[in-house]
C-alpha cells in the first residue's frame, strides 16, 4: 500500500525532530572541558605529603596530584597506574615492574625508575601500609630506566594491594623531592604525575589545582580510582568551610558546586532543591568501640564478650542516622558490602544478639564488680558521641558502670596511645582493601590486638597468595574476631554529600571523592 503524501511528510518531520532532539540530548551528555569546580570540605590538610599522614583529607587531595604504581578498580582490586604491569617469579619472591614510558611530572621531568625507587623507599619508612610491605622486602632497586625490581624475604600476598591503597599511599615523587625530606618530615614541594597540579595553597582560604596539560592518561576507560583520567575542569578549588550548615547553604545558593561530609539532617532540605542533588556516600564507616587490651578492665575477654552480647545495635544505628534508613546498614561482615572481595556472609555470629541473660552471665563469669569502665568519646564527630551515649544507657541497664569521658578529638587521639588512660574509645572503621590492612587487628594500633590466634591468621593471610585459601582464612578470622572481641563492631553508617546538578559524571561508588573525569554543564 502506498502512503499518501501528507502522511510521508509527517513522517519526515517527525524523524527530523527526533534527530535534532537526539543531537541536543547527546550534546548535553557529552563531556565538555572548562570551568572551575568549587568543592567545600571541612578543613585544612595537615600536609600534602601523601607518604606522611593517614588523614583522609590528605588522601582525597593528594590523589589528584600524585599517582602510584597501582590503583584500585571499581571492585577495589589493584590495577596498574604508573606501572605498565608486573611479572612475578615462579617462587613468588621477585616482582619486576615495567613502568609506563613518557609519563611527565608537573615540573616537566620524565618519570623513571629512579624516582620510583626513591619515592617508595621513603614511603616504606613512614606510611602505615608502606612499612608493612617493606618489612617483607629484601631488596628494592632499579634494573634500567623503566624497570624496577622488588625482592621479597618470603612469599607475600600484599605487594600489589599495598601499592594500590589510596590512603597514606605510595605516591611517586621526583627523586630529588623524595630524597630531600626525611620520611618523618613533610615534603614541602608537591610535584606529581597526576591530572591536576597544585597551583596555589592559601591556608583557610583555598587550595587551587589546575589541569596538567601534559598529563598522559592510560588508554583504558575510567575504572574505580584508576583507568583513564581526564581533567575536564580547568581548575578544582578546594574551599575549607568548617561550619557544616554553611557548606549546605553554599551548595544551595550555587557558591559551591560540591560539598562533602554534611550533616544527615540536611538530606530532606537538599531533596527539595531542584538545582542540588544529595549523594549518599558509602562505604563510610562502621562504628566501633575499641577495647584497650593491654591494661585495665577490658583485658578481660569475658567482659568484652558481655559488651558484645548486651548491645542492641539497630536502635543505636537508627538514632545515629537521624531515623533515616538510607543512612545505615545492619551487617556483621568486617569488610563492607562495597569491598566485594572481602565481604563475608557468615551465619550464627554472636553479633547484635542483645541477649541480656547471656550478657549478665558473662559479666558474672568475668568477675566484674561494677568497676567504672572509662569510655572515651568526642562531640567533634556527632555520630561518635551519639552511639557512645546510647551504648552507655544500654550497658548500664544490664549492670555495667560506664564512665563516659567526652573530650575533644585532639585529646582522644593523644590519650588512646597510652594504655593507662582509658578502657574503651570510639572511632569509625573506614574501607580497607585487604584483611592485612585492618588496623583493629594489628598489635601496633591503639587498643593493641595481640591475641595469638588472630595474629597467626593475620600472618598467614599476609603470606598466602591463593585467593580461595585467603578467603577461607578471612572467614576463620571473622569467627575469631567475634570470639575474642578485640573491638565491638556496630552497624555501617553512611555519609552525605551534595552536588549541583551541573556536576556531571561524578563517580558515587568510591569511598572518597575524585574530580578527574568530572565535567561541568554550562
Amino acid at each position: 500500500m502506498r502512503r499518501s503524501v501528507p502522511a510521508r511528510l509527517t513522517w519526515l518531520v517527525m524523524i527530523a525532530i527526533l534527530v535534532v532532539a537526539g543531537g541536543v540530548a547527546l550534546a548535553a551528555d557529552t563531556p565538555r572541558k572548562g570551568g572551575v569546580i568549587r568543592v567545600g570540605n571541612l578543613g585544612e590538610p595537615p600536609s600534602l605529603d601523601a607518604h606522611w599522614t593517614t588523614a583522609s583529607i590528605t588522601e582525597t587531595l593528594t590523589n589528584h596530584i600524585y599517582e602510584g604504581l597501582y590503583s584500585l578498580d571499581n571492585s577495589n582490586k589493584p590495577i596498574p597506574m604508573l606501572a605498565e604491569g608486573v611479572t612475578i617469579s615462579k617462587d613468588g619472591l621477585v616482582y619486576t615492574f615495567k613502568l609506563r614510558q613518557g609519563v611527565k611530572f608537573h615540573n616537566g621531568k620524565e618519570m623513571t625508575s629512579e624516582d620510583v625507587v626513591a619515592s617508595l623507599a621513603r614511603w616504606g619508612k613512614q606510611s602505615v601500609y608502606g612499612k608493612a610491605l617493606f618489612a617483607q622486602v629484601a631488596d628494592w632497586k632499579a634494573l634500567d630506566k623503566y624497570t624496577v625490581e622488588m625482592k621479597l624475604k618470603e612469599k607475600s600476598a600484599i605487594v600489589l594491594i599495598s601499592l594500590a591503597v589510596p590512603n597514606n599511599f605510595g605516591a611517586i615523587y621526583p627523586k630529588e623531592i623524595a630524597e630531600k625530606s626525611p620520611p618523618e618530615q613533610k615534603v614541602t614541594e608537591y610535584i606529581g604525575t597526576g591530572p591536576f597540579k597544585l597551583a596555589e595553597w592559601k591556608p583557610d582560604q583555598y587550595i587551587r589545582m589546575v589541569r596538567f596539560d601534559e598529563y598522559k592518561s592510560r588508554n583504558e576507560k575510567p575504572n574505580g580510582y584508576g583507568g583513564g583520567k581526564t581533567a575536564y575542569v580547568d581548575e578544582i578549588r578546594w574551599i575549607p568551610v568548617p561550619e557544616v550548615a554553611t557548606r549546605v547553604a553554599q551548595v544551595e545558593t550555587g557558591e559551591l558546586d560540591f560539598a562533602d561530609d554534611l550533616n544527615l539532617d540536611a538530606y530532606d532540605r537538599l531533596k527539595t532543591n531542584a538545582s542540588a542533588r544529595a549523594i549518599v556516600s558509602k562505604p563510610y564507616y562502621w562504628l566501633v568501640a575499641v577495647m584497650n587490651k593491654k591494661e585495665g578492665l577490658m583485658t578481660n575477654q569475658k567482659l568484652r564478650q558481655a559488651w558484645q552480647a548486651a548491645i542492641d545495635i539497630e536502635p543505636i544505628m537508627k538514632n545515629v542516622a537521624g531515623g533515616k534508613p538510607e543512612f545505615y546498614r545492619m551487617d556483621s561482615s568486617l569488610a563492607p558490602v562495597e569491598i566485594a572481595a572481602w565481604h563475608t556472609n557468615l551465619q550464627g555470629l554472636p553479633w547484635n544478639e542483645h541477649n541480656r541473660d547471656k550478657a549478665k552471665r558473662l559479666l558474672q563469669e568475668a568477675g566484674y564488680k561494677k568497676e567504672p569502665i572509662r569510655f572515651m568519646t568526642t562531640q567533634e564527630y556527632k555520630w561518635m558521641y551519639d552511639f557512645a551515649l546510647l551504648t552507655k544507657q544500654q550497658l548500664e541497664d544490664i549492670g555495667f558502670a560506664i564512665d563516659l569521658q567526652v573530650v575533644d578529638w585532639a585529646t582522644l587521639v593523644k590519650r588512646r596511645n597510652n594504655p593507662k588512660e582509658y578502657d574503651v574509645f570510639t572511632t569509625g572503621i573506614g574501607a580497607f582493601y585487604d584483611p592485612t590492612h585492618a588496623v583493629f587487628l594489628t598489635p601496633s594500633w591503639p587498643g593493641w590486638t595481640t591475641d595469638e590466634d588472630i595474629q597467626r591468621i593475620q600472618s598467614e593471610l599476609a603470606r598466602e597468595t591463593d585467593p580461595k585459601k585467603r578467603m577461607a582464612l578471612w572467614e576463620q578470622q571473622t569467627r575469631q574476631f567475634y570470639e575474642k572481641v578485640p573491638v565491638i563492631r556496630y552497624g555501617d553508617l553512611f555519609g552525605l554529600r551534595a552536588a549541583r546538578t551541573t556536576v556531571r559524571d561524578f563517580n558515587e561508588k568510591t569511598e572518597r571523592v575524585r574530580f578527574y573525569n568530572v565535567w561541568l554543564e554550562k
Binding site: P46, A55, S56, Q205, A245, A410, K414, N417
Partner: protein, 314 residues
C-alpha cells in the same frame, strides 16, 4: 603627655610577659597532641613518637618555655606545625579579613547604637524609647550564630540577594568584598550595637539632667541643637570607652561570625589552631590579641583628652 605615653608603653611589657607565660602553660597543659591529629586516625604510636621527636615536642616543658621566651624577644613567633609557615606570616595573612570585618561591624554597631541611644534618651519614656530599647535588648539576647544562620537562610538561600559565605579581598574587588561583608557585618554589628545604645542612652540621660542643658533650653534653643550640640559631646566619654572595648572584642571575638560566614580571619585561625593543638599559632594569636587590647585601651585614654579638654595626663 609624652612622659605619660612612655610610661604606659613600658607598662605593656610586664602585661605581655604574663600573657605569654599563661597562654604557653595553658595550651601545653591541656591534654591533646598536634602530632596525633596530623598523622591521622590510622597512625601507630611508634610513628607518632618519631614525629614528636622531630618537632621537639618531647623536650621538657620548661626547656620549651625558655626557647619560646627567647624567640619572642627576638620577634620570632615560631613555626606553625600544621600550616608549614612562620606564625607571623599566618597572622599577617589573616589580619586583613579580621580588620575589614572589625571596621565594618564597628561601623554598623556605632551607626545603629549611638543614634538610637541618643534618640531614646531625648524622648525618654516615649514609644521611640521603648521600641529602640526593646530592639537593643534583643540584640544582646540573640545568640550570634543563630542570627548569622538565619541571615544566611533568608538573604542568601531564600532571596538570593547576597552571597552566603566567603571572603573577597577589598584590594582585589572592592564591590564584591562589600557584598560579602554585608551579612557578617550586620549580624556582628547588630549585637554589638546593643551595648553601645544602652550606654549612650544612660549617659545622655545623665547629661540632659545637667544645669547647662536647662540653661540652653531656657535660651530657647531647639531640642535638636540641645541634644546634638550641647549634650552629645559631653555624653561621649563613656561611649568611647565602650566602643574601644567593642573594637578589642571584635579583633579576638569574632570567632563565631568568622566560622559561620567562612571568613579566613584570626578568630577562625585560633579556633582551628586550638583544635589541632598548633601551639605556636595559639600563642602567637593570643599575644597579638592581647597587644591590641592594651594598645586600644591606650588609644581610648588619649581620645578622652581630645574629647574632654578637662582631662589631662601629666
Amino acid at each position: 603627655m609624652g612622659s605619660y605615653l612612655v610610661r604606659r608603653l613600658l607598662a605593656v611589657l610586664p602585661v605581655m610577659a604574663v600573657v605569654a607565660t599563661v597562654v604557653f602553660l595553658l595550651i601545653h597543659l591541656i591534654p591533646g597532641d598536634p602530632v596525633s591529629v596530623m598523622l591521622g586516625p590510622d597512625a601507630t604510636p611508634t610513628q607518632i613518637e618519631a614525629t614528636r621527636q622531630a618537632l621537639g615536642l618531647n623536650r621538657p616543658l620548661w626547656e620549651q618555655l625558655v626557647g619560646f621566651y627567647g624567640r619572642v624577644l627576638t620577634g620570632d613567633l615560631g613555626q606553625s606545625y600544621f600550616l608549614d609557615r612562620p606564625v607571623s606570616r599566618a597572622l599577617w595573612e589573616r589580619a586583613e579579613p579580621t580588620l575589614v570585618l572589625m571596621l565594618c561591624a564597628l561601623g554598623v554597631a556605632v551607626a545603629i547604637g549611638v543614634p538610637s541611644g541618643t534618640i531614646a534618651a531625648a524622648h525618654r519614656g516615649s514609644a521611640w524609647d521603648r521600641g529602640l530599647m526593646t530592639v537593643s535588648l534583643l540584640g544582646v539576647c540573640i545568640p550570634g550564630f543563630w542570627l548569622s544562620l538565619n541571615f544566611i537562610y533568608f538573604f542568601a538561600v531564600r532571596l538570593g540577594w547576597l552571597p552566603a559565605a566567603g571572603y573577597v579581598s577589598i584590594f582585589s574587588d572592592p564591590v564584591a568584598a562589600l557584598r560579602y561583608m554585608v551579612l557578617p557585618a550586620f549580624s556582628l554589628g547588630f549585637s554589638q550595637s546593643a551595648l553601645i545604645a544602652r550606654i549612650s542612652r544612660s549617659c545622655m540621660l545623665e547629661v540632659l539632667q545637667q544645669d547647662y542643658i536647662r540653661t540652653a533650653r531656657a535660651k530657647g534653643l531647639s531640642q535638636g541643637t540641645v541634644t546634638w550640640v550641647h549634650a552629645f559631646r559631653n555624653a561621649l566619654v563613656p561611649v568611647v570607652t565602650v566602643i574601644g572595648i567593642t573594637t578589642a572584642v571584635l579583633i579576638g571575638g569574632a570567632v563565631v561570625t568568622e566560622i559561620v560566614f567562612n571568613i579566613p580571619g584570626l578568630g577562625r585561625l585560633i579556633i582551628s589552631a586550638i583544635l589541632r593543638r598548633d601551639y605556636p599559632v595559639v600563642q602567637g594569636v593570643v599575644l597579638v590579641i592581647a597587644a591590641s587590647y592594651v594598645l586600644i585601651n591606650l588609644g581610648v585614654d588619649i581620645l578622652y583628652a581630645l574629647i574632654d579638654p578637662r582631662i589631662r595626663y601629666d
